[in-house]
C-alpha cells in the first residue's frame, strides 16, 4: 500500500517538475499576489493631490488657504483656471483628487459661507483619505482663528456698548430739566470706561475637534498587515484546488486513469497519491508567503504558530477536497481550470479579505458565510495581528472543520464512484 502510494506521489512530482507552466504558477503566483496585496493593493493613500482656490480676500481665509497649501500630505496642484470650473476640469482630467474653495466673504462677520470641498469619487480611497485629512490640515491655524474671532467679538461688544450708552444718555438728556444735564453728562462719561475686557468677555472656548486616536494592533494602519495573513490562505486555496483538479483530470485525459484502475491500486490509494503531492505544494507556497510576509513586510505573528498551522490544514483539506470534487465533474483540464476559478474567485471576493463583510448587502453576506474561506480569514487575521486563540476563534474553527470533513467525505465518495 505504502509503496503504491509513494510511487504515485513520486510520479506526480516528476510531472510537476517537468511542467514548466505549472511550476511557474506554483512559485510565481504566490510572489505576484504577495506583491499585489502587499504593495499595490494598499488602501492607505499617503498623499492627495489638492488645489486651493481662495476667493475670500479676508485674513482668515488666507490663513486657512495657507494651512491647506502647506500641509505635507496634500500635494499642491496648479490650476490653469483658479476657480470651481478649473477644479472640475482638472478633476475630469485626473490631475486633481480634491479641490478646496474658500468663498468670498468667508469668516467675515455676518457671513455664513462655508469652505467648499470637491473630491473625486472615482478615486475612492484618495477621496476618503483627502476628506479625512481636512481636519488635521486646518489644525495649526485653529488657534489663530480663535484669537481673531475673539478680537472681533470684543470689538463688536465694545461698539454695541458704546452705542447703547450714548442712546441712553440722549434719552435721559431729553427727559431731565436743563440744570441736571451737566450731571447726567458727567455720569455717562464715567461709564464709557466700560470695555469688554473689564467685563471679562472672551470668545467661547471651541470644543476639542481633533480626538486623540490610539490604534491598537496595527498602529501604522498598514494594509499589508491585514492582507497578508488572509493572502496565505488565498494562495494555498488557489493552488491546491486548481492543481488537484487538474492533476486528476489529466490522468483521465491521457487515458492513464483507465490503466490505473486495472492495476492493484485501490481508489483510496489513488486519491491519497494525488492529494499528498499537492498538499506539499500547498505547504511550500504557504511558507513562501509566510517567510516573505515576515521578512519583506515586517509582519509579526502574534499567535500560536503550531495551532495556526493546524487550523490552516483544515482549510487545505477543504480545498483539496474541492479540487477532487471538481475533478469528478470536469471532462478535461480546461474545464477543470475554469471550474476551479469559478469556485475560488467568489471565495476571495466575498471572504472579507478585500471588502469588509459588513459592507456587503445582507443576501450576499449569507452567501459569503456559506463559503469556507470566509471562516479562515478571521482566523488568520486574529492570530497574526491580535494573537487570538481558540477561546475566541472556536466558532470559525468548528465551521471550517465541518467543511473539511464534509467536503473530503463527499469528494471521496464521488471519486470512488467516478473511477470505478
Amino acid at each position: 500500500m505504502l509503496q503504491r502510494l509513494l510511487a504515485l506521489a513520486q510520479k506526480e512530482f516528476i510531472q510537476i517538475r517537468r511542467d514548466r507552466r505549472t511550476l511557474a504558477m506554483m512559485i510565481a503566483l504566490p510572489m505576484l499576489w504577495l506583491l499585489m496585496f502587499g504593495y499595490a493593493f494598499s488602501f492607505d493613500v499617503q498623499e492627495v493631490r489638492v488645489a486651493v482656490v481662495d476667493e475670500s480676500g479676508s485674513e482668515i481665509g488666507g490663513m486657512v488657504a495657507d494651512a491647506f497649501r502647506t500641509y505635507d500630505r496634500f500635494i499642491q496642484t496648479d490650476l490653469a483656471d483658479r476657480s470651481e470650473a478649473g477644479i472640475r476640469d482638472a478633476m475630469y482630467r485626473d490631475d486633481l483628487q480634491m479641490g478646496i474653495i474658500i468663498p468670498q466673504g468667508y469668516a467675515e462677520a455676518g457671513n455664513s459661507e462655508q469652505i467648499r470641498v470637491l473630491v473625486d469619487g472615482s478615486d475612492l480611497f484618495a477621496a476618503q483619505t483627502g476628506a479625512r485629512l481636512l481636519q488635521s490640515a486646518i489644525e495649526p491655524v485653529q488657534g489663530k482663528i480663535k484669537a481673531d474671532l475673539e478680537a472681533r467679538t470684543k470689538a463688536d461688544i465694545q461698539e454695541r456698548l458704546t452705542k447703547e450708552l450714548s442712546a441712553r444718555r440722549d434719552a435721559l438728556l431729553a427727559q431731565v430739566p436743563a440744570p441736571m444735564k451737566a450731571q447726567v453728562e458727567q455720569q455717562f462719561a464715567g461709564a464709557t470706561a466700560l470695555s469688554p475686557d473689564a467685563l471679562g468677555v472672551s470668545a467661547p472656548a471651541a470644543p476639542q475637534l481633533i480626538p486623540t486616536v490610539t490604534v491598537l494592533y496595527n498602529p501604522e494602519l498598514k494594509s499589508a498587515n491585514v492582507m497578508i495573513p488572509g493572502l496565505l490562505g488565498l494562495v494555498v486555496m488557489f493552488i491546491t484546488t486548481m492543481m488537484t483538479a487538474m492533476g486528476v483530470v489529466r490522468e483521465r485525459e491521457y487515458g492513464t486513469m483507465e490503466q490505473l484502475v486495472v492495476t492493484p491500486i485501490r481508489p483510496l490509494e489513488l486519491m491519497l497519491g494525488k492529494l499528498l503531492p499537492y498538499l506539499l505544494v500547498g505547504a511550500l507556497d504557504f511558507f513562501i508567503v509566510y517567510i516573505a510576509g515576515r521578512y519583506l513586510f515586517d509582519l509579526t505573528f502574534a499567535g500560536n504558530l503550531p495551532l495556526f498551522l493546524g487550523l490552516s490544514l483544515l482549510l487545505v483539506f477543504t480545498t483539496l477536497g474541492l479540487g477532487l470534487l471538481i475533478s469528478t465533474v470536469a471532462q478535461n483540464q480546461q474545464q477543470a481550470m475554469q471550474m476551479a476559478i469559478f469556485v475560488v474567485i467568489p471565495q476571495i471576493l466575498l471572504s472579507g479579505l478585500i471588502f469588509p463583510l459588513s459592507s456587503l448587502p445582507a443576501v450576499i453576506r449569507y452567501v459569503a458565510y456559506a463559503l469556507p474561506f470566509t471562516h479562515y480569514v478571521p482566523i488568520a487575521r486574529g492570530m497574526f495581528i491580535k494573537g487570538q486563540g481558540l477561546d475566541l476563534l472556536w466558532p470559525q474553527v468548528v465551521i471550517l472543520a465541518g467543511y473539511a470533513v464534509a467536503v473530503v467525505t463527499l469528494a471521496t465518495l464521488r471519486f470512488r464512484k467516478r473511477i470505478a
Partner: protein
Amino acid sequence: MMPNAIETHDLTRRFGHFTAVDAVSLTVPEGGVMGLLGSNGAGKTTLIRMLLGVLAPTGGHGRVLGHDLATDAEAIRTKVGYMSQRFSLYHDLTVEENLIFYGKVYGLKGADLQGRKDELLAWAGLTDQRRLVTGQLGGGLRQRLAFACAILHRPRLLLLDEATSGVDPVSRRKFWDLIYSLTDQGTTVLVTTHYMDEAEHCDRLAMMNAGRLVATGTPADLRAQYAGGGGLDQVFVTLAKRT
C-alpha cells in the same frame, strides 16, 4: 483437462435500456492467443472491462484465472495485464520512469524491478530510448512501451483491447512477434481486433455482434463453417448479416 483462463456464464451488462453485453458464455483455455472479433459497438470493450473487475456485471457470472470477477477483482488485477489502444502512458515521463512507475504499482521493487525493467527494455527494443520523454516516441515505440508496462508483473493472462490499431503495419508485425514470445512462455493472451489479417494470427477466435457471442472456433473452423472456405472477412460479413 487444462484449467481455463477465462470462463463466463451468461455474463450481461446493461446501461439503462441498452444491453452492451448480452448473456455471453465464453471459455478461454490457458495458453495461446484468443482473438475477440466484432465491429465497433459489438461489446468487446465492455466485456473486457467486466473481466478486469472494473465494471460490475448486471447479470451472469464469470471467473478469471480461477477468481470470481464480482468478488475477487483485486486478485485478478495482480495477475492480469491490460493494454488499450490509448497506450496509457505518462507522456511527460521518460521511458524508464514509466516502467519504474508501473513496476512499483505492481509491487516490484529493488533489484527485481531494475532487472525486469532492463529485460523489458531490451525485449521491446527500447534500450537506446530509455531516457527519452515518452511523448517524443513514435506510435510503434509507444505501443511497445505500453506493452512492456502491461507485462512488467509477469501476468498469466494479458488482455489487449484494440492494442494494434493506429500503428503502421511494420510495427504491428513486430508487435505480434512480442505476443508470440509471451505465449511461448505460457501466457494466455486475449486480443480484440477488427483487422482480419490479425485474426489469422490467433489460435482461437470468438466473434461478437450486438452484444452477443455469435461464433467460436479456430480460424479454419470458422472459415469452413461460415465462408465456405473463403477468408475471415467473409465470415465476419456472414455473421454480421445474421442479426
